[in-house]
């Protein structure tokens, strides 16, 4: 297993740990994505993110990788802090694993700065999702009272 | 070593649960039969190569004689079917021209061509039937006898296609109704298996010669060990000119025809 894969593996496992209940055991251990839809989303997204961290940190790529994971976490009952904590989980993993492996590459490519930038982007994304949630909540209420509103609008009582 | 009552109980008891019991039975029995072979006759000696020489001239002496055929077929419970298609035969006669199509000349054909030639399985050195059998139901024993395990034959008839001598028959029907009198010393066959001449290996085991040879008053059939230089068959083959059927196929027949 090469260094990147090892890092990814740890990242997935530790992120999964922050999930509720027994889900954690299933999410991290079940390698078969077929049996574990949420875990699979996690793994795919984290893999994409890790690739970007090593590469150009392309904003749109990161955004599309963040979307599924944050979108899921936003409705998984995570607080905003919790939802982006998975990014900060990466730092200790790198510290643990990087010195043993090809650290030259790692040190140059991924520094805390990049991770911090990612955290900010994740937080933004999370806020976006929360805002969207709030918006669709409002829309729902509005739809429920649609007729009354229109009656009121049309025939001022 | 003898198997005692206790041993047998042990075999059937739980003591051998761990060991595969069947294997044990076999192992024990093997030991005893080895002893048996030391005491009585050897199953078949390694240095033997059974073979046969048929003196065609002698064979012709008595016109229409089929004593050997009858002897063989009654000894081996060979069924007699009237329908040619379903025939089973271990030993039979064919016109010379069909048996030795290459050995005839235009001049000899007239006389020799229709003379009957006695046919049996050639018990080849390198039998094609053995190679093709997918279940090892037919094989050449170390004494040269090509034999068939009727218990194992699946009836695919590949051996019949492979045999260049047409020596093999198939039981298209249940043979039993077609056997007039059963010889209790030899099993009958069941439908769906292939059979052929076995050089009377059951008689050889008892130290007897083949039934056909024994029954021939003219002594036209000589049977013996081809490996033994002073055997009767070797002596005969030394003194008279003999041919094999289709030697060019490389099968090495052990049946020789003295012409």
């Amino acid at each position: 297993m090469d260094a990147n894969e090892a890092i990814l593996e740890q990242w997935v496992v530790r992120t999964a740990e922050s999930y509720p209940h027994h889900a954690a055991a299933l999410l991290s251990k079940e390698r078969d994505p077929f049996r574990n839809p949420v875990g699979d989303t996690l793994r795919q997204s984290l893999a994409l993110l890790l690739r970007e961290l090593f590469a150009e940190m392309d904003a749109t790529a990161i955004d599309s990788a963040l979307d599924p994971i944050i979108r899921l976490q936003a409705i998984q009952g995570f607080s905003s802090d919790d939802a982006v904590r998975f990014v900060s989980l990466l730092k200790p993993i790198l510290r643990e694993l990087a010195p043993e492996r090809n650290s030259a590459v790692l040190d140059r490519r991924i520094d805390d700065d990049r991770i911090n930038r990612l955290a900010v982007m994740a937080a933004d994304k999370c806020t976006q999702c929360r805002e969207q949630l709030a918006r669709i909540r409002a829309n729902e209420v509005q739809r429920a009272n649609h007729v009354q509103q229109r009656i009121r609008a049309r025939r001022p009582a | 070593m003898k198997i005692t009552r206790k041993d047998f109980l042990r075999i059937s008891g739980l003591g051998l649960l761990a060991v595969a019991g069947r294997k044990a039975v076999r192992a024990v029995a093997e030991r005893t039969s080895e002893r048996a072979s030391e005491q009585t006759s050897a199953p078949f000696a390694k240095q033997v190569r059974w073979g046969m020489a048929i003196d065609l001239q002698k064979c012709r002496q008595k016109d229409g004689c089929d004593r050997c055929i009858k002897a063989c077929h009654s000894t081996h419970n060979v069924p007699q079917f009237s329908d040619r298609a379903h025939e089973v035969k271990w030993i039979w006669k064919e016109p010379f021209k069909n048996v030795f199509p290459a050995a005839q000349t235009g001049y000899t054909r007239e006389f020799f061509g229709n003379l009957p030639v006695l046919l049996v399985c050639n018990h080849c050195d390198d039998p094609p039937c053995q190679d093709v059998c997918p279940v090892k139901a037919t094989w050449k024993r170390e004494d040269g006898v090509v034999t068939i395990d009727f218990h194992r034959c699946i009836g695919c008839r590949y051996c019949m296609a492979a045999c260049p001598y047409g020596a093999r028959s198939f039981n298209w029907l249940d043979p039993r109704p077609a056997i007039a009198t059963v010889n209790l010393d030899f099993p009958t066959r069941t439908k769906g298996v292939v059979e052929k001449c076995n050089f009377c290996e059951e008689r050889l085991a008892k130290g007897l010669g083949p039934a056909c040879a024994e029954s021939c008053e003219e002594k036209a059939i000589v049977f013996g060990d081809l490996e033994k230089p002073d055997s009767e068959v070797r002596r005969l083959l030394r003194s008279r000119f003999a041919v094999q059927r289709q030697p060019e196929l490389g099968t090495g027949p052990a049946v020789y025809y003295i012409v």
Binding site: M1, V13, E17, S28, I136 | -
Partner: protein, 532 residues
């Protein structure tokens, strides 16, 4: 790497599901019922509490109540006892639940949801359970178990999808219903079920709309239909002697997109000249009693036949609604019948005898309309729906408790030209729930709803990407309320509509003015030139 995984395993063993405790978090649970609603319905143990409180203020003899309630129900419902006893835990149901697929929480596997109650059943009602306890999967009834029940029985939409796949037909909905009944006994119920139920009990509908407001809304809809078509559309209310009583879910005259469906009905009825009436008393077809207890369901349902009898109608026509139809189809006649004061339904337009409704005497609007179309009684111009690329969501109850699958499709295929099915394992009897049924469609539960709706949304996304689908048609009021939200989050760009909205759009009415807008008030796009 494997050793790292191992380390995690040690820290957090896979464990036994029976030990797990539930964490209540806002956004994923429904709030408790307000005491006033419970009191109004004369149900036991009203009190102020919330699920995330540590102390649920259970009555002192709560355990006794629960066990007594279980015992009673084990004697009254064969399904309950059977389903407690014959599950072999083969796991075929596991990934059939939309909540499991969407949340990954293993206790959302139907088998485990049922085991939450089975474990208690074994402990108190079986010999082996009393003797061997944990060895045979029995566990003590504790407050934590009650909390777990509350969490997971209000995280099941009783959609019955698992029951389709179960080799013994074990229906988690039955178990959830029993669980909720038992919880009701100790006053642990949710407001989003109890409030509509109390409203419905009092005013006749979930929203608590009083007769004058009801009339207002209906009149408003009639006016709007008039505006769109230019025809004098009238809606009789509480009219005695009409042939047909029309019952719909109250959302139809209150929210969107339900409201457009109502416009569709009204136009249809006008066009065929139906002799019908709506009722301000039976102004709700939906029945939140179904989500609480059989008894409450019966109490709320009683008004339908009562009103039909009072108005001396011949039979009942029911609008587009999911659980309303589960009650109409599987419970109403048994609970409040026989409906011998009504007549076996016959379509006044086509003369078709609705043989399948001979006893209950209630006909689904889709059956009624499909029959009209089949007999050529309606003139339809499907081109008016050309802006829509339609797919159809089978609502759980009509599909898995009735088998109403072809009728709505027949209407849709006649009313619009672009129709695409979702993948085959997500429609018809295998349809995925919207994630908000059975009283879970509330705002405080939004995040859990979005999780539960994920599989449905995913199938829609598939046809959206493949065929450009932009409209999800359905025949359920809860769907119409919650699918738009689900779509907004997971598949932006897909709207939701009732089948009869599309029919209303396509319906060419005698004497109508040329339509300039569709029922939503949006300009009618004519694509004839490009299409033909």
């Amino acid at each position: 790497m494997p050793d790292k995984l191992l380390a995690i395993e040690q820290k957090r063993p896979e464990g036994d599901w029976r030990d797990a405790k539930v964490e209540f978090r806002k956004g994923t649970i429904c709030y408790s019922a307000a005491p006033k609603n419970i009191t109004y319905l004369s149900l036991p143990n009203p009190r102020e509490w919330q699920p995330f409180d540590a102390d649920w203020k259970l009555p002192p003899n709560w355990k006794e109540i629960i066990l007594k309630g279980m015992k009673e129900r084990l004697r009254k419902y064969r399904s309950f006892r059977l389903f407690m006893e014959i599950c072999v835990r083969c796991g075929a149901c596991a990934d059939k639940c939309h909540f499991y697929v969407g949340s990954g929480d293993p206790k959302n596997m139907p088998v485990l949801r049922a085991e939450l109650m089975r474990s208690v059943y074994r402990r108190y009602f079986t010999l082996t359970g009393r003797l061997f306890r944990a060895l045979v999967g029995a566990r003590e009834l504790t407050e934590d178990v009650i909390k777990e029940w509350f969490y997971y029985f209000y995280q099941c939409t009783e959609c019955r999808r698992c029951s389709v796949f179960c080799p013994y037909g074990i229906d988690t909905a039955e178990i959830t219903m029993m669980g909720r009944e038992l919880l009701d006994l100790i006053g642990c119920n949710i407001n989003w079920v109890m409030e509509p139920a109390a409203n419905c009990f009092r005013t006749g509908n979930h929203l608590g709309v009083q007769p004058h407001a009801f009339q207002d809304s209906i009149q408003f809809a009639a006016d709007e239909a008039k505006e769109i078509t230019g025809l004098p559309i009238e809606v009789p209310i509480n009219r005695k002697g009409a042939e047909i009583l029309f019952v719909m879910p109250s959302a139809d005259y209150f929210g969107t997109p339900h409201y457009y469906t109502l416009l569709g009905y009204l136009m249809l009825f006008h066009e065929i000249g139906l002799d019908y009436t709506v009722s301000a008393f039976a102004s709700e077809g939906g029945n939140f009693g179904l989500f609480s207890s059989h008894e409450l369901m019966k109490r709320l349902n009683a008004k339908i036949y009562e009103e039909a009898k009072r108005l001396r109608v011949k039979w009942i026509l029911g609008g587009e609604c999911g659980h309303m139809w589960r009650v109409f189809h599987q419970y109403m006649d048994t609970m409040n019948g026989p409906a011998d004061f009504l007549e076996p339904p016959v379509s006044p337009i086509t003369g078709t005898h609705f043989e399948n409704a001979r006893s209950t005497r209630a006909v689904h609007i889709c059956e009624f309309t499909a029959d009209l179309i089949h007999h050529g009684k309606l003139r339809l111009d499907p081109r008016r729906n050309d802006r829509w690329n339609v797919t159809y969501h089978d609502s759980c109850n009509p599909s898995r408790a009735m088998g109403l699958l072809e009728e709505p499709r027949y209407i849709l295929k006649n009313a619009c030209r672009n129709f695409h099915e979702m993948p085959e394992n997500t429609i018809r009897e295998q349809t995925f729930c919207c994630g908000s049924g059975a009283g879970l469609g509330t705002d405080e539960n939004l995040e859990m709803r979005l999780r539960g709706g994920f599989p449905r949304a995913n199938a829609v996304k598939h046809v959206r990407e493949k065929h450009g689908v932009n409209l999800l048609a359905c025949i359920c009021a809860i769907d119409k309320a919650t699918l738009p939200t689900l779509m907004e989050y997971w598949v932006p760009g897909v709207e939701v509509a009732g089948v009869h909205e599309l029919l209303g759009n396509a319906l060419v009415m005698t004497g109508e003015k040329e339509r300039t807008t569709d029922l939503r008030g949006e300009p009618l796009v004519r694509e004839e030139a490009t299409r033909e």
